[in-house]
């Protein structure tokens, strides 16, 4: 056990952490921004709109992230018409390939999460909105989506953490993320235990921070589900607390 190789190479890991954080956060933002309209269309659209979205979701949920990344990174480079087209400067960069694959992958999962929670909107809420004379768009914006986001949060927080862990695959297409850093240190000193336990600690620290932040958000978004005075409820009717 020799952790001096880690402390003297901590800059490699910090660089790796920077890359992991950038990759994951940009992918999640792009994925979510794409997923919201796609999920809405998936629920309210006609079958001409639905079928392509279903195929997209089916493909990205039905294949491993690693296979998708190899297809984008090594696969597309095989075709001359792509190598000669204007998009090649982008696909030439490993970073862009990883971002594209991660964004589309997380988007597909997020579409399903949002679709599920939109379909589960309580019927009474929709009825009340219709009775109040809301247009379809207004109802979507004011009632269905906010309520769906709240319900989707626990499942989406899982997706965030899966995406963080899935990003370890970026290291196979030459990107130095946290895992890539660990592989460099392992290969330089042949110390797999020290190299990868350090990577594990970095991932755990990030996951812990994410879980904490999501919990804060859940407290805020689910405030209406919390009993107003917890101490009183705990004593008098603990069984009513199950949804909190």
């Amino acid at each position: 056990m020799d952790f001096s190789i880690i402390t003297s190479n901590i800059d490699v890991y910090l660089e790796g952490m920077k890359n992991t954080l950038i990759l994951v956060s940009i992918s999640l933002v792009i994925g979510l921004l794409l997923a919201v309209p796609l999920a809405v269309l998936r629920v309210v659209g006609n079958s001409f709109v639905q079928i392509p979205i279903r195929i997209f979701v089916y493909f990205f949920r039905g294949t491993p992230l690693l296979v998708q990344m190899f297809l984008v990174y090594y696969g597309l480079g095989q075709f001359d018409f792509i190598r000669e087209s204007f998009v090649w400067p982008l696909f030439k960069e490993a970073y862009f390939c990883a971002l594209l694959t991660f964004s589309l992958n997380t988007c597909a999962y997020t579409v399903e999460i949002l679709r599920g929670s939109m379909v589960a909107t309580p019927h009474g809420e929709v009825e009340a909105a219709t009775a109040a004379g809301m247009s379809k768009f207004l109802m979507l914006r004011r009632i269905i989506l906010p309520s769906a986001f709240r319900r989707a949060l626990p499942a989406y927080s899982n997706e965030i953490i899966f995406m963080l862990h899935g990003s370890a695959l970026a290291s196979v297409i030459t990107i130095v993320d946290i895992t890539g850093a660990a592989r460099i240190i392992n290969s330089r000193y042949y110390s797999p235990y020290e190299a990868f336990i350090t990577a594990a600690l970095f991932y755990m620290a990030i996951t812990f921070t994410l879980v904490f932040l999501i919990r804060q958000l859940e407290k805020k978004w689910h405030a209406h589900l919390q009993p107003e005075n917890q101490s009183v409820v705990k004593i008098e009717a603990p069984h009513e607390n199950i949804t909190g």
């Binding site: 090594y74 480079g77 095989q78 190598r83 030439k92 490993a94 196979v172 030459t174 890539g180 592989r183 460099i184 392992n186 290969s187 330089r188 000193y189 042949y190 797999p192």
Partner: protein, 259 residues
């Protein structure tokens, strides 16, 4: 049912630990790479082949033992040896001081210089100045990786690959400007092939002892001194009886043993 599984597992365990204790080296498991042509590659029918593979079979045969070949990704090669997944590594591994801290080595069984390759005509003047800003591909955890990191680390952008095959793909599509690897591996694995016809060697032969070591040897766990001796003797045997030359002539038209 459950009991029989437990008994079976116990037998397997005893058999495995029994052979580890015996150490009479009637069976030698050799770790090989399988993605490093022409030294080690997988044929279309799935069989391993190459210079390293033939040498491994010849050396173990010369000891009068049976060989089992175990294919292993390059960057896990030494950890898997330490974890006793096999008893020796015959995978074109250079004998370096850094590796000697973890494992011991036989005498060399061949030695060839390292070289850069690039697209024909793209590198005319080879000096540190012109290398600046270039993207150079290299196989992770190799002496070439170490050399690039130490000598050019600050000036160039290094891309590290799990195997040379992946690096060739990125050289062809232009994601890297140059590759650094063993000259023979580059020549037979790439330059002589159709994909490699537009590429050429650039720069001098690199064989500085500090990075490129004392040639390529067979790695063995430090405690298996007897096996190291057996391999050294076997190398002498096949050098003397012509088996080495026959294998060499099968793959190369020059002397790979070096001086």
């Amino acid at each position: 049912m459950k009991k029989s599984i437990v008994v079976f597992a116990l037998c397997m365990f005893l058999a495995a630990s029994g052979s580890a204790i015996a150490k009479d080296w009637k069976k030698v498991r050799v770790g090989v790479e399988g993605a490093y042509p022409p030294f080690s590659y997988v044929q279309p029918d799935g069989e391993l082949a190459g210079f390293d593979i033939d040498i491994a079979r010849a050396l173990v045969a010369a000891m009068g033992a049976d060989v089992t070949l175990v294919a292993q990704d390059w960057d896990g090669m030494i950890p898997a040896l330490m974890a006793k997944k096999y008893d020796a590594i015959i995978a074109s591994m250079s004998i370096t001081d850094e590796r000697k801290k973890k494992v011991s080595f036989s005498k060399k069984y061949y030695r060839t210089p390292a070289k850069f390759i690039a697209k024909k005509g793209s590198v005319s003047d080879f000096s540190k100045g012109t290398m600046k800003g270039k993207t150079i591909g290299v196989q992770r955890a190799t002496i070439h990786d170490q050399y690039l990191t130490d000598v050019y680390g600050k000036d160039v952008n290094i891309k590290r690959y799990g195997s040379l095959d992946e690096a060739y793909l990125d050289l062809i599509v232009g994601r890297v400007d140059m590759l650094l690897a063993d000259s023979v591996a580059l020549l037979d694995g790439f330059l002589k092939k159709d994909d490699g016809k537009d590429y050429e060697f650039v720069g001098p032969d690199l064989n500085d002892r500090k990075w490129f070591g004392d040639g390529l040897g067979i790695a063995i766990r430090k405690q298996d001194k007897d096996l190291e001796e057996l391999f050294n003797k076997a190398i002498e045997t096949i050098r003397a009886n012509g088996v080495y030359k026959a294998i060499q002539d099968k793959y190369f038209d020059f002397d790979v043993y070096g001086d």
